[in-house]
Amino acid sequence: VIAADVVVIGGGVIGTSIAFRLAQAGVDVLLVERRDLASGTSGACDGGIGLQTKKPGPHLELAWHSAQMFPRLADELGHDFEYAMVGGLFLITSEAEWAVMEQFVAEQRAAGLDIVILEGDEARRREPALSPNVIAATYLDPRVGGLTDGLCNPHYLNYAYGAAARRHGARLMLWTEVSSLRMEGRRVIGVDTTAGPIACQTVVLAAGVWSPFIARTAGVDLPIWPRRGQILVTEPAAPRIRHFLHGATYILAKFRPDLVAQAADPLTRLGGALLMEQTTAGTILIGSTREFVGFDTRTTRRATAALAAEAARLVAGVTDLRIIRSYAGLRPYTPDSLPLLGPVAGVEGLVVAAGHEGDGIALSAITGVLIAEYLTGRPLTYPLAPFDPNRFAGRPLPAPGPR
């Protein structure tokens, strides 16, 4: 019989980051992944490690803690994952967007982020590819807090966490699927898998959008829904996009779904907003939508056309490129856009770390640390209370889509 003190379910960035921190702390940890590492959401996303994309409050504070870890993380993991603190620009193209962004920036500044609004020409001086439609852009100046928005290769980050976990003694069981939690009364005593049962004291559920299926085997309903994000990939080009770019409508799409519902343009109606970054390989990623369509990971004519049109509208300097492919990943949505981190009420030994929606890459570093601190009884770097997985208990939760 296979046994471990802690079983981590899920080999994405969250699960591997947790396995790494637990192994580093000397815990006997076994990670179970039904396919290869980076096979789910972590393998079908963009590489953003954003700060401007976070809501002031616990969301931004958690992201700040995580962002602080990234500049040293490659050394710690022993593998490069193409991290660079490139800085982000939110592109504003109308007075109405400007008004919303001014208010959002005021909240961010009050929370300590030194964000400035650049005039259009100043933004184009920093990023010559921007189109004349851009009338202003927000920018987080790294000279004050020492940090700004970054980028990385999420696949390589995932493999780096996995390799570091292994080096510290974690066992990784790939191509092994967990079918259910093994219970003794209301206590978790292990997991059943396609490779047989595994006995353990604690289960960390880090299976992203698939977590609810496993939680349900212990009678727990986790409020996570898959939200499809489609992304286009251009042919490789010489460096021409320096920053991590977003349309200002990103903030609307993420935090003001009420405004999204009334929108006229096709991308906004798909929950989408422009996101653009150039990878180390030279390809430019153009995202992204946020669609509630269950577990469907196909890309669509409608969304890819809307993304291409929005890219052309905001970034004139990419319209000479060809799109070579597209892909889609499932972001784990929660009703308040905050992840579920911590013990599940009523099931002893079950800890969840899932529901990071589009912030999984950015929050992976701190998530691993917090879960490991919690499980080893060390003082927490940041309190788990705002992310309590049981915070929705007793509240009616309308399903935003199929799952």
């Binding site: 980076a38 696949h155 490789p236 390989a281 319209t319 060809r322 799109i323």
Partner: protein
């Protein structure tokens, strides 16, 4: 132009033209689109005749018949994606003039087969080309890829014939032993394999060996044409999520009696099912075209079992041998990724980038599949490459116009 076509046929080779002809005669409104600038598929690359009329003459006859029966033919048009909808499919087409979306109740994918690549030291050198590319140079552009040409592979007879007829000095390295018909003017060497393509930049000579351990020889040549065999390439059926089974060098689509795949309304015909020669492709196209036009299939013959082409190893060389040309992924990279946990094309792609380039893996897929199978991957989990839209690189402004 109708708002909704009864049938969209993808590919105007023997199977596609035959399907279009049969469906049009059965009363269906048929649109045939062909990616190449002219119809005919591989048949259009045969100017000289082995027996009966030459391929180009047969293409002209088929096109004439299909158009006379009412089919519409558009060349230089790519189907970038198919989307199932209530009344069939929406297809995003792109061509020189831009993109357009059309609707069709049913779709026959007759996109043919792709030639197998083969990776050995020097295979990415200029002067190494696929046999059909060499045939296109000779037959359509009246150019020779070189004065002295080596043709490599059991499927090399046609290519060797066309090159020799055009005046090249041709050595055909045929990995099969024993006697075979040899086209006039061609020197065939039975049981020989290519070891490497040599040269400072371009190919200057081909290093060959008789069997794995027999004598070696360096053959001076300006071009090396790969004619190892074919693997079916119903790329839109891969994208649409039809079911497949792995077979030796490629995936065979699961079809019902009329050629319908597991995706309702989506059919595959001809070499795109499995390459079995022109006569079979014509007959299969007719059968599938009728079924797609709503005529119940009368011919209930079971499909012949796919035959494995006589193949040398598809990948042989040192760890720095390139196996994915777009992303320059090496054999060593691929083997390390497989050792670390990759078991499918998809997981190998994420670990190495093999298949993330403009070809989306359609080029390197047989090589990567061979490596996975060598490492004892489960054939049941080895799915074809998932080619997302756009199927071929598409200028961003054209894609922006494709959402309606």
């Amino acid at each position: 132009v109708s708002a909704v076509w009864d049938l969209l046929v993808v590919g105007a080779g023997p199977a596609g033209l035959s399907a279009a002809l049969a469906a049009s005669r059965a009363g269906a409104q048929v649109l045939v689109v062909e990616e190449q600038p002219a119809p005919g598929g591989h048949l259009a690359l045969e100017a000289t005749a082995a027996r009966g009329p030459a391929g180009v003459a047969r293409v002209a006859l088929l096109v004439g018949q299909a158009v006379a029966a009412g089919a519409t033919l558009r060349c230089g048009v790519v189907v970038q994606t198919l989307e199932a909808s209530d009344e069939g499919f929406g297809a995003l087409l792109s061509g020189a003039l831009g993109t357009a979306t059309i609707r069709a109740r049913r779709v026959v994918v007759a996109s043919g087969a792709r030639e197998l690549p083969c990776a050995f030291p020097g295979w990415t050198r200029p002067g190494v080309l696929l046999a059909r590319a060499a045939q296109r140079l000779v037959v359509q552009d009246w150019l020779l890829p070189g004065e002295r040409v080596v043709v490599y592979g059991a499927a090399g007879a046609t290519c060797a014939r066309e090159l020799a007829a055009a005046g090249a000095q041709v050595v055909w390295l045929d990995p099969r032993r024993g006697a075979r018909p040899v086209p006039p003017g061609v020197e065939r060497r039975a049981g020989w394999r290519v070891v490497a393509a040599q040269g400072r930049e371009r190919v200057e000579a081909v290093e060959a060996a008789l069997g794995p351990s027999g004598p070696r020889e360096t053959i001076p040549a300006e071009a090396l044409c790969l004619a190892l065999g074919l693997a079916p390439a119903p790329e839109l059926a891969w994208q649409a999520g039809a079911q497949f089974a792995w077979q030796d060098v490629g995936h065979v689509v699961r079809r019902g009696p009329g050629g319908e795949t597991t995706v309702p309304g989506l059919y595959v015909a001809g070499d795109a099912v499995w390459p079995r020669g022109t006569a079979w492709a014509l007959a299969d196209g007719r059968r599938v075209g009728l079924a797609a036009a709503g005529v119940a299939p009368s011919d209930r013959r079971t499909e012949p079992a796919p035959r494995r082409p006589a193949l040398p190893p598809l990948v042989s060389g040192p760890a720095d041998l390139v196996v994915c040309r777009c992303e320059e992924v090496t054999l060593g990279d691929a083997q390390a990724a497989i050792a670390a946990g990759a078991r499918t094309l998809d997981t190998l792609k994420r670990r190495t980038r093999a298949g993330m380039g403009p070809c989306q893996g359609r080029w390197c897929y047989p090589l990567l599949a061979a490596l996975l199978m060598e490492a004892r991957a489960d054939p049941a989990t080895l799915q074809p490459p998932y080619l997302r839209l756009p199927l071929r690189p598409l200028p961003l402004p054209q894609l922006a116009g494709g959402g309606t």
